[in-house]
């Protein structure tokens, strides 16, 4: 039930963000009226789709208790901090929340702020799904009401944990799911990192949440849900396009008979078109032109070893990731040894995303080490749902071998 509510919440956030993105790109004022209409449409769609969220996953009392005990301290602290303590991360204030406030102030996503005519619009071409969703409470509760906007981020994080639990229940069983989700919730990078963690207003965790929602749709073989989540992933962050492409490939490999994957692919493609159309009206500021940089790839091949070292090396930082990535490596070996199609698919998917991220480091005009210091751990966050599935699959295989041999 909680997972169904979590999925419904993500649909509300995503639907409001996508509709506002569409309307804003079409030049319609992104004000109270639009948000009210978008919210009503989103609620109607959520009610119509409720049955698909409420797919029954059997959870034992022991697993439910384990999950509750592990999540409660994290969630209580998160809500307490959101309601009382001011936002204190860097990009949340310099980039994401400032954009949300600008949308709420100008009722537009192409107004003077986004044209660079008033204040500093960092990374002007970043997709705006989360700032748009956060602008909704700002429109109604007041533009300065930071806590109201942060509540959207906090609830999205909790929804992510519950949807991940549902996904992992299907893959590895309820107790394994409870332990892995507990581990993810207590990851230092998620629970304590001011820049990018649950206490921040970065778009990192929402991206991970919608990636997990897309994975749930793949497991449910629900093409519409997959298309919707991938559109949200695409409109969440630039990296979303890469993740969406990989998830489509995974859907094809996981469900060879799922011809409707092609239908699902139309949603993120349309989202990319809308984004491209919006970007045409926005001057590029404070950002790198990655398509242009990618053209110089041949000249920067020698940067790959350093780029790979900077990104992958951080997986071994125990104070940031605990032993999560060590467990993923063992799980990967188990998955390959037991010829698990699911594990192999998600490992390949994660590796493809990592390769693109390493390439982006290799072609950057920044100093690689400097860029990695500010972004590597946040990029690794995107891979957590992939790794969690591989771990859950390894547990399922390991237990199955035990059952057979006994």
């Amino acid at each position: 039930m909680m997972a169904a509510i979590a999925m419904a919440f993500l649909w509300l956030v995503g639907m409001v963000g996508l509709l506002a993105q569409l309307a804003g790109t079409a030049g319609i004022a992104v004000g109270r009226k639009l948000f009210a209409v978008a919210l009503v449409i989103a609620i109607v769609i959520v009610v119509m789709r409720w049955r698909s969220f409420a797919t029954r996953v059997l959870v034992s009392r022991a697993a439910a208790l384990t999950l509750t005990l592990l999540l409660l301290p994290v969630v209580i602290t998160l809500f307490f901090d959101t309601a009382i303590t001011p936002l204190r991360d860097y990009d949340g204030r310099v980039t994401w929340m400032l954009k949300a406030r600008a949308i709420a102030h100008e009722h537009s996503m192409s107004g003077p702020f986004f044209q660079g005519k008033t204040s500093r619009d960092a990374h002007s071409h970043y997709p705006l799904l989360m700032p748009l969703a956060a602008a909704l409470p700002l429109e109604f509760a007041g533009e300065q009401n930071e806590s109201a906007a942060r509540a959207v981020y906090a609830l999205t994080y909790v929804a992510f944990l519950l949807v991940l639990f549902r996904v992992l229940c299907v893959v590895g069983g309820d107790m394994a799911a409870a332990v892995i989700v507990g581990c993810v919730a207590w990851l230092p990078q998620f629970a304590m990192e001011i820049d990018g963690g649950m206490l921040s207003a970065y778009s990192e965790l929402p991206l991970v949440a919608f990636t997990t929602l897309a994975i749930a749709a793949i497991l449910d073989a629900d093409a519409i849900a997959l298309g919707f989540s991938l559109a949200c992933v695409t409109c969440m962050k630039n990296e979303g396009s890469v993740i969406a492409a990989v998830l489509i490939a995974i859907a094809v490999m996981q469900r060879p008979r799922m011809r409707r994957v092609l239908i699902a692919a139309i949603f993120p493609a349309a989202a990319m078109l809308v984004l491209a159309f919006w970007r045409r009206s926005i001057p590029l500021e404070h950002d790198e032109n990655y398509p242009h940089l990618a053209m110089q790839l041949a000249l920067k091949l020698r940067n790959y070893p350093e780029a790979a070292r900077e990104l992958l090396g951080r997986m071994l930082h125990v104070h940031t990731w605990g032993v999560f990535w060590f467990a993923s490596i063992i799980a990967t070996a188990t998955g390959i040894a037991t010829r698990s199609r699911r594990a192999t698919t998600f490992v390949l998917g994660g590796a493809a995303i990592l390769f693109v991220y390493i390439t982006s480091y290799a072609v950057t005009n920044w100093t690689i080490a400097e860029l990695a210091m500010s972004s590597a751990n946040r990029l690794l966050m995107h891979l957590v749902p992939f790794a969690a599935i591989v771990i859950a699959e390894a547990v399922a295989r390991y237990t199955a071998i035990g059952n057979v041999s006994s």
Binding site: D81, T85, P86, L98, H105, A191, G322, T399
Partner: protein
Amino acid sequence: MATRADARRLLLAIAGAILVGVNVVLVAPGLLATFRLAHDLRAPSRDERHRAVLGDYYAAISDFNGRIPANAGVALIPQHATERDVAMLSVYQLYPRPSRVFWNVGDWLRNQHDGADRTTPRPEWLIIFDLSQKRPYRLLHAEGNSLREVASR
């Protein structure tokens, strides 16, 4: 008698405990500190909470913001690389007041801020960030060819 399956389950339970336990040990002190901070801040006003958490720059920028006429733009000028972050964070605090980051006064004179659009005239109000000084934040107003410092409250 314990079967091989029981042994595997025990091994998995130990692995799970390590997986979660390491994170709990690493995160618990910080989580408790975050909870305590929120608990201690629940009574003070919004402004006091911000001052307590964000430090002296928040108080200075709030003071300056109250002294500058409504809608007037502000130039934020860090004197050293170490003050750039504070200058950029001040944009968030000052919003919706228009504010621009200039890397030095010379850039401000040429209206060369760090954004792309230079069609708006340079702001007449300047906030100088210099953490090496006794007064790390100063508000200046451009009057003709000179800059007049506006005294803090």
